[in-house]
Symmetry: C2
Subunit: 159 residues, 2 copies
């Protein structure tokens, strides 16, 4: 293993951090009434179902692309999910897939550059941080939707 500059978080901890955020996002999906998950939005933004489509279309496909070093364009699934329960099932499948692919990442991989979706050419660590940030960002939007619907969102630190 080549020598690395001193760094501040282990892969195990970063995975735990990401999966902690994903657990919170799952609570947010659960908190939406069935109808509002698919229909409610503010200011012409996407519904939380649509935002969840994006999160699912990034997480596993992106991580798999990184691990296999296969550059594929970003795409959302053809199959349209129509129940929240289907989203939760996909979410849980993704949780297991992420855990599995993460094990294939070596410590050196994080500093390698990868052209994610053929669009984002960055060190892998920054691709991973981007997935997390993007999820936190959209989930923050979901919190506003829930509040606007008169629903108390889960605590931010509930992971």
């Amino acid at each position: 293993m080549k020598t690395l500059a001193a760094q501040v978080i282990t892969p195990e901890d970063l995975l735990k951090h990401w999966q902690g955020h994903r657990a919170l996002t799952r609570h947010v999906i659960e908190a939406f009434p069935e109808k509002d998950f698919f229909e409610f939005s503010i200011g012409g933004m996407r519904t939380f179902a649509k935002l969840t489509d994006e999160l699912l279309s990034i997480a596993v496909p992106a991580l798999k692309g990184i691990v296999k070093r296969e550059v594929s364009p970003y795409s959302e699934p053809e199959e349209k999910l129509i129940f929240k329960a289907q989203y939760l099932e996909k979410w849980d499948e993704a949780t297991a897939e992420i855990d599995k692919y993460w094990q294939e990442l070596t410590i050196e991989d994080f500093n390698d550059t990868f052209n994610l979706f053929g669009q984002y050419e960055f060190p892998i660590i920054h691709n991973v941080l981007y997935f997390i940030d993007n999820e936190v960002h959209h989930r923050g939007q979901g919190y506003v939707y829930l509040r606007a619907l008169g629903i108390e969102p889960p605590f931010f630190w509930e992971r």
Copy 2:
């Protein structure tokens, strides 16, 4: 220096990542009309001025507390800012202070546990990730406020 487990991001990169997010949050503050920054909200949530108060009350005080290992309770400033320009000025002061205090962190510090604000007893790396996540979360709320006001928010990748 003691031996550390292999890890995935340098302190310099993490600072750059945080300050990149802070630059984007600054754009979001700028994007609000003066009046709406202080008055607009959805579903009984805080205004973006109030959310910015929180972000300012965490960033420098928290980092300073960590560096000095001084446990002080969380508090928001007594001085009430009434113009967006004052917030932007405070924001820029905080940017410089963060850069300054960050230099005092050693690589070992990140794995040390610190009782942030006397409330959050975690390894310092997790305290820092929490500041960033919290900012991304609240900024995501700001994006919805802007959209609800008919204003195009800055691009998420504009740092």
